[in-house]
């Protein structure tokens, strides 16, 4: 073995840019996820199973399902995102990748954002794509299904972003999974309310533009604030390990 590189201080302008670094983080997460398909599938299966519990547990009547359908789908989607959050940083924490991420010269919150986006692409987006099928199973009409998917499309990234804070805070703790849910569920409530509320408004024939804009505002807020909080939480959790 012999080191080729010469020794000199690297000035700031030689740093790798933020975007290529984010892209590398994003792609690595996608790649590792696709090497472990089952982990990708599990939240989706969970989603389908939870939704099917309601007709079985409450009532298969068309009128009930039509009324409760969007709420059922939203709650099930929320729970499957919650279930998948534990993985967001856990593997990276265990194998030391997370330490290396924190030590990259790029701003940590942007790298965290890249990881969170990867998480959404791997869990939230498939849920959105699966939602129409389940929407049909709970007898939602075409318009409601379209609105529902749109709310999920805007809402699930918010779930991933807020969830990242909880995942970062509970990193390395025993029984982190339950604790994570405990911390995060209250913070999910506004998204749930407006997600289902929008579908209900659409079913009543009201215009949903305003509601969608509000959900969009949640997304913007979460995009700007959550990565900072998650990055701070990551540093704290790593400092303790």
């Amino acid at each position: 073995m012999a080191s080729e590189a010469r020794v000199r201080l690297r000035p700031a302008h030689e740093a790798i840019g933020v975007l290529p670094a984010m892209k590398a983080v994003f792609l690595r997460d996608l790649k590792t996820a696709f090497r472990q398909h089952q982990d990708l599938l599990n939240p989706l299966l969970f989603f389908v199973m939870v939704v099917s519990l309601f007709p079985l547990g409450v009532s298969p009547e068309v009128s009930f399902l039509q009324q409760a359908g969007s709420g059922i789908l939203w709650v099930a989607a929320l729970l499957s995102v919650l279930l998948s959050l534990d993985h967001l940083f856990r593997h990276d924490f265990d194998d030391g990748t997370l330490e290396q991420l924190v030590l990259q010269p790029q701003p940590l919150f942007l790298l965290v954002l890249a990881k969170t986006l990867a998480h959404w692409v791997l869990t939230g987006l498939p849920l959105v794509l699966l939602a129409p099928l389940l929407g049909v199973m709970v007898h939602l009409d075409g318009n409601s299904i379209a609105v529902l998917c749109l709310t999920l499309l805007i809402g699930t990234p918010v779930l991933s972003l807020i969830g990242a804070i909880g995942a970062a805070l509970t990193l390395g703790l025993r029984s982190a999974g339950v604790l994570l849910s405990l911390l995060i569920i209250p913070l999910y409530i506004p998204v749930l309310i407006f997600g289902t509320g929008t579908v209900a408004a659409a079913a009543d024939g009201a215009s949903v533009g305003g509601y969608m804009a509000l959900l969009g505002a949640f997304l913007v807020l979460a995009l700007t604030l959550a990565p900072f909080a998650a990055a701070a939480a990551l540093r704290i959790s790593l400092s303790n390990s």
Partner: protein
Amino acid sequence: MWQFFHKLGSPKWFFGIANRLMPWLLWGGAVLLLAGLVWGLAFAPKDYLQGNSYRIIFIHVPSAFLAQSVYIMMAVAAVVTLVWRMKLADVFVKAAAPVGAVLTFLALFTGAVWGKPTWGTWWIWDARLTSMLILLFLYFGVIALGAAISDEKSSARAVAVLVLVGVVNIPIIKYSVEWWNTLHQPATFKLTEKPSMPIEMWLPLLLSVLGLYLIFGWFACLRMQTEILTRERRTRWVKELVQAEGN
């Protein structure tokens, strides 16, 4: 100014100050609260609509009020923890969170008791009650996270981050719950109609709110002192203090 700030961070200094402050807080609070409650429960006029059952607001409103303020106070302490790494701020958060949770529970409980004669049911998904329920969840989260992290410094900072995330969310939660409430059941009755309340009603209410604040101050000091003694048990001043108490 900075020296004062620095002193404020010293647990030993706080311990002494708290000792001097606590009797005032306790007695002042007790007098105000008692006056407010006696006035409110026994002498304030009956409500023309609800009769005597409304009188529970003299407990309900102060606890609900304080339950929310405590979270805000915790958020301020959280900023201090994160920015200045002041130990005492975290001691406050840890001491205040369970008290906040109890107050929130008290507000919910009295709300339910009030609901029975007013709405004919113990629980109603009213916007305020629902918001309080979510606030209770937030308190539970803070307490659970604090208990889960054994390292004192990490626990302090992690809890601080969570409290701040929570405080950003509280207005959003409140707003969405109110919107959700109007969507599902137009509000027919509001718990407190402030403008229509005669002065004989809101003056005792004000007294009991102030009284409860002072009592909270006393109780927070007490819990902080306990927490400080536990944390600083190995320092010389605590050992000397314990010895002096023992003699």
